[in-house]
Subunit: 298 residues, 2 copies
């Protein structure tokens, strides 16, 4: 049983094997959002505010904050976004950047124990990011690629994860503060990718005994009815041992799958969260089933 | 890798570890359907016809046929239903009764290799049903309860399954012709039941190496938004190794989960079934996701 504690100044969230599934809201990210990028660069953070509040209202447990805008002063923007979101909500943050200076600026602006997103198995990145994680007492997302790229081989990816966990230990960071992302590729491009990812998630949990996270919507890229595919994938991934996901909590179908998986794994006592979320739908329910049919008259 | 072959006079369906998931349509069953029961008893099988055709159109691979009406001549009714359904479709049948004489009458009326539903670990039932399975060259659903009842202990249920598989072998029935039902209880009544069922499904596949089936909608009995819970459960169960389910193929949400799971486990080459089922929905899709967002402009 592994618990990863993340906190804000006043609130704690635990990612863990025997905890309800953790949703890390992905919306505060200008990548591919031209308007948000332009606004942030011009100093208008109103959309960041709105995205933070909407995601918390929708059930996000942690908010990812990314300010990756080409040619911008990313450290300053990320620090500002981190300070702003902290002033709006006590939801703990994931500080997200591919630029190490921005990660550092974000950590300095943050009060609490952040989830730092991310380190990889690349040597330079390991040796720059892990000291920051240690210095600030953070937890870190570890992505299963290294200097040789993203392997399609599960054993290789597992070894990258293992290497990051061992290197973190060398820096004084316990394994429970490393949350591994197995990397889930689009099934439309690589038919065997999700199945391999499910196997890797299980191995990361059973053998390496770490918490895991992933982007839960990449898998359906390019296919119709993405919500349907994403819900099925996340249900299967949680069944395989996934303990958190970086995703959009505003997608109702996905949140339903996550809540349903909590019920199935006995992480929603008396099904109270489920009932609270869906009791209004009960009257019009048409989901069928053997036992249900007993009250029908056809 | 285990394949269970079921057939009609002219068509074969394979339940198997590396095959697309098998849907066994549950609708032809008067249990709890008062009108259907009254009609069948009065000799009107028009609803049986309609249910058969609708389920095949909705994607059922096998049709379960049950004629369990209290005080009726169940063997005669079941034989008639089996003959009728065979005349309408080449979809193979599952012959379903708790009455051994009815199972026998159904088998005698059937051309092909039926799935007989079911045997349990109860001594008397084993010794009456298995000879029928052998005589008719059928496959059989094995339910994980015995003379001591339905155990809540996974090891006990596993041992019941093992006992049935061994006893079947004594009767000359190979393990590949035994499809085990782990018994999934409602989560509202037993909070730990689905999680234990998922563990049992994995053990049945990895240790006993048998195909599995279950009623996929009992799990949500008494809760709101049953379709949502059932979809999540079946996704998780398929991820754990479930290879077939006795369920209602007319429930769109459940069929979506099954098709999605086939995609995720690389059992839908080039995602063709998925695309065919959902391409019309593509234009209006709102399922979100990181990559998708790159084409949005907010």
């Amino acid at each position: 049983m592994t618990d990863t504690i993340i906190s804000s100044a006043s609130r704690e969230v635990i990612i863990g094997f025997e905890r309800p599934f953790t949703i890390i809201g992905e919306r505060i990210n200008p990548t591919g959002r031209k308007l948000l990028a332009a606004e942030m660069q011009a100093g208008d953070f109103s959309r960041v505010e709105a995205d933070a509040l909407a995601q918390v209202a929708a059930g996000a447990h942690v908010l990812d904050v990314n300010a990756g805008i080409p040619m911008a002063d990313e450290p300053a923007l990320l620090a500002r976004a981190v300070r702003l979101v902290q002033s709006l909500t006590d939801t703990p943050l994931s500080i997200d950047s591919s630029v190490v200076d921005a990660l550092e600026a974000g950590l300095e602006a943050y009060e609490g124990k952040a989830l730092l997103n991310s380190v990889t198995g690349e040597e330079e990145r390991l040796e720059r990011v892990l000291p920051l994680v240690k210095k600030h007492g953070a937890a870190v997302v570890a992505i299963c690629n290294d200097d040789s790229g993203i392997s399609t081989d599960i054993d290789t990816r597992f070894k990258v994860a293992e290497k990051i966990v061992h290197r973190a230990a060398d820096h004084g960071i316990p394994a429970c503060d490393v949350v591994v992302d197995p990397l889930v590729m689009p099934v439309g491009a690589m038919a065997g990718a999700p199945r391999r990812a499910l196997t890797l998630i299980r191995r990361l949990r059973e053998e390496l005994k770490v918490n895991t996270t992933c982007g839960a919507s990449n898998v359906s890229f390019g296919l119709p009815n993405r919500g349907g595919l994403n819900s099925t994938f996340i249900s299967m991934a949680i069944g395989a041992g996934l303990t958190s996901a970086i995703t959009n909590p505003l997608v109702k179908e996905l949140m339903q799958a996550v809540r349903g998986a909590d019920v199935m794994l006995n992480k929603d006592p008396q099904c109270m969260n489920w009932i609270q979320a869906y009791r209004e739908a009960a009257a019009g329910d048409r989901s069928g089933g053997r036992r249900r049919r007993r009250s029908k008259k056809t």
